[in-house]
Amino acid sequence: MADLVLQTVVKLLIPFIQMYGIFIIINGHLSPGGGFAGGTILGSSIILYALAFHVEDALAHYSRSRAKMMESAGVVAFALIGLFGIIRGGHFLANNIWGLGETGTLLSGGIILPITLAIGIKVASTMITLFFHLLEEKKL
């Protein structure tokens, strides 16, 4: 189970995979990608860790209570961003909280960047939780 070559390569790879996932999420409004694709990449990095090491080691990094918190935080943040649109005088999920910024820059598009971030957190957490639970059930 404990293969030194595999574990070393995985340790080297994971920062790059996570960096790529965060890039896909944050740059979702400028280039192809977005919350769903980037969240899947982020989640797959932790799944890779769980495969190369052990589920218990991966659970120590991403515990069940943290997973539950992240799951809820993604959806709640999305809905709250939508409710802010009503508070500011528009319709639900209206794009009127901040200014729209300059086209092509990172901080532009109003609520699109926070919504993409919320979706990314949610999807990454969903991938990881599903995988851990299926692995643990198989062990019984």
Binding site: G110, I111, T126, T129, E137
Partner: protein, 101 residues
């Protein structure tokens, strides 16, 4: 006999599907019914409405953000179902292990 009947049904269904596929509009034809004023408005006004160059992200997180909220809710419901069904298994297994040890 069952193989013959199955093959007969598959051929009938397959030819029906092929018949329908041959009636579909040509891919990329500007006269397609899908190229209506909705998609034209989205691709024309995306910069004015949201200031982002990625039309697809603009549609799923701005014009159709309510739909995306529904998708996130579907994911949430799915993971809640998995935690309910599989989580009890995990807890039961842990309890059983403690009793044995």
């Amino acid at each position: 006999m069952r193989v013959v009947v199955a093959a007969f049904i598959i051929i009938i269904l397959g030819s029906l599907l092929l018949l329908m596929a041959s009636e579909m509009p040509t891919f990329g034809d500007p006269d397609n019914p899908s190229n209506n004023q909705v998609s034209q408005r989205y691709s024309r006004d995306i910069i004015r409405d949201t200031n982002i160059p990625n039309v697809i992200t603009g549609i799923i997180t701005d014009y159709r953000a309510y739909d995306t909220l529904g998708e996130a809710t579907v994911l949430f419901a799915g993971i809640a179902a998995v935690l309910t069904v599989l989580g009890s298994h995990v807890n039961a297994g842990r309890k059983r292990g403690q009793d044995d040890g």
